[in-house]
Symmetry: C2
Subunit: 397 residues, 2 copies
Amino acid sequence: MPRFSTSVSALRSSAIRELMSLASRPDIISFAGGMPGNELFPVEEVEELFRHLDPKAKRAAFQYGPTPGLPSLLESLGGFLERKGLPVKKNRLMITTGSQQALNILAKAFVDPGDRVLTEYPCFIGAIAAFRSCGAEIVSIPVDEEGIDIGLLEAESIRTDPAKFLYVTPYFHNPAGMLYSTDRKRQLIATLQGKDIPLIEDDAYGDLWFSEEHLDRLKPIKAIDPEGIDVCYTGSFSKILGPGLRLGWLLAPEPIFEKCELIKQSADACSPSFTQVIADAFIRSGKIEPYIASVRQEYQRRATCMSEALRRHLPGYVHWNEPKGGFYIWLTLPEGTDASTILKRAIEGGAVFVIGSTFDPQGTRNNAMRLSYCNNSPEEINRGVPIIADAIRSICG
Amino acid sequence: MPRFSTSVSALRSSAIRELMSLASRPDIISFAGGMPGNELFPVEEVEELFRHLDPKAKRAAFQYGPTPGLPSLLESLGGFLERKGLPVKKNRLMITTGSQQALNILAKAFVDPGDRVLTEYPCFIGAIAAFRSCGAEIVSIPVDEEGIDIGLLEAESIRTDPAKFLYVTPYFHNPAGMLYSTDRKRQLIATLQGKDIPLIEDDAYGDLWFSEEHLDRLKPIKAIDPEGIDVCYTGSFSKILGPGLRLGWLLAPEPIFEKCELIKQSADACSPSFTQVIADAFIRSGKIEPYIASVRQEYQRRATCMSEALRRHLPGYVHWNEPKGGFYIWLTLPEGTDASTILKRAIEGGAVFVIGSTFDPQGTRNNAMRLSYCNNSPEEINRGVPIIADAIRSICG
């Protein structure tokens, strides 16, 4: 009799772990990680805020809290989300242990082993792992520079056994970097309306825009609040305060929220009160908006530096888009290229990135690669990009 | 087609939530919670420790960490566990988001829907929820004042379709309060040896003993390290630092650890670095041992006060054991009593507790109730116990 469960055998050890150990070597320039730069965290502000909390709030930081989150944070975060136009009062808000947990909970709420779910290709690896851990059969629909392929989505959405949900990351996509166009969002909404396929809208990077001209494209589908689609909106403090706090959120219609609350109760009882108290103080102090503005500017500086370096060094047959926000640039290589061979060369040269197949739910398509600029100085970027470009040339000519 | 998954429909909203809202009313004395007293948390010590961390450690507190935990905490916690005699080096240690997450991960590693797992009766509600969320069929084996019923365990363990694991909480059981005898542990080990049924040993309360004479009984089965049983040992900072940090641990053999690491990756990527940095500093500063000694003393004071009050006020037909440690006293009422009716009366009188059926995986047996003394002053205990005793008399005569 097999000892372990079926669902765990569907989980694969990702190559990311190995990359991360390479990435910590001082002689290697890493464009692999998806973490904010350590030097950008608001350490002193948070320490100061904690010091001035009243003793009751400090003690509450050590105590269990309600499963959906500390009431004070639900209120302050609710206000933060309402200022983005999100329909907080028409839905229920839950604090999760990172938005990774929100994806895991949603998968558990909807998916029985063998059920189909729809994602984009490429797709955030955390989502692939969460969906697979529930035994989902993942059907991935390609994106272009404006969003998901609507024709393919339409074909999937009219099947007689509808998928359990569609998962998308429309705002500075991980790993594709792309921002959905307003038109593509409109088409996506029209395709799903009345189809009984809930939408999971992952907005972990939306605050990190580089130009106000894109604010319109950044309006969440959840904020558009379309009739006839259950939108489950997820977000995170990871990119706007610090991933080490492990705080994300889920905004969902009441019936879905109720199931998710039971699942969260059985998963970890509640998210850390300690960091919830901190996040609450960070929002209430008014420090979050200027902090976001400052990291936005810093990531834009790094992004600009990387795109300039790519323009200078990459061969013309590599396709990529100028980043409009977020952390990533996605390079598409000539059809048939195996990015693993390029990675091997790049490591020899002293730089790492993540290969495309990591973000493919089928794990096969590999003529692409993700470069992060979020955690590198301009100097590192300027040293690292030529190494990547040389590695590409050495394989693709 | 049903919208939600099968596993979520197995989860039930527990009555605990409603009780907790009652428990927060100032006019009600609550013996319902399982949380440490707010006034006992080492708030100033932790603030002081954080202030003196070097800037690098502070920044790391905001960053993602490795899935199994921050290396520095794995090292310091490993030392803490080795001082209890646990075979840390022969196993792998993982930091989890509370020990609730460790139970959830283990269930996910072993259980496919419909698989049998063995627990005690009564059983920790968090474990019931975690196991049920994976579709487990829970078979619960009664405990007496020395531990689990060995005859019934033996009968279950020789079935041709062995259960996926046995879950026990031998040290100041939640809710039964009881501490396993050394003999019963020996019998449990002999029963499981060579049976291919892993043991999950939950030791969330073991540090909270009231007398050194019990130290021998407190030696974990994991520390005895019996041949031929895979012991997965779980523990928690919740009772020895603060549940709001959401930090627990799992010590398990390598092959089980590997599966658990993949599951944790898909669950929440990593536990909060912020609170891991704090727990690490708390251990390394040497402050954890004196802190544990001080709360031990305080809980003993509360326990003594409650047992004296129970002796004074309870009718002779109510059975219970003098607590030797931990948070709880379990009252067994005459056969056929429905504790719900007693709870109703007690609430009218101004006191709450948790009814026995909450801790029954089958949700039926209800001639018992759990009283917590962990979060009450002696004055509250002395006011509350007579209310409980009156409620019992009004129903049972």
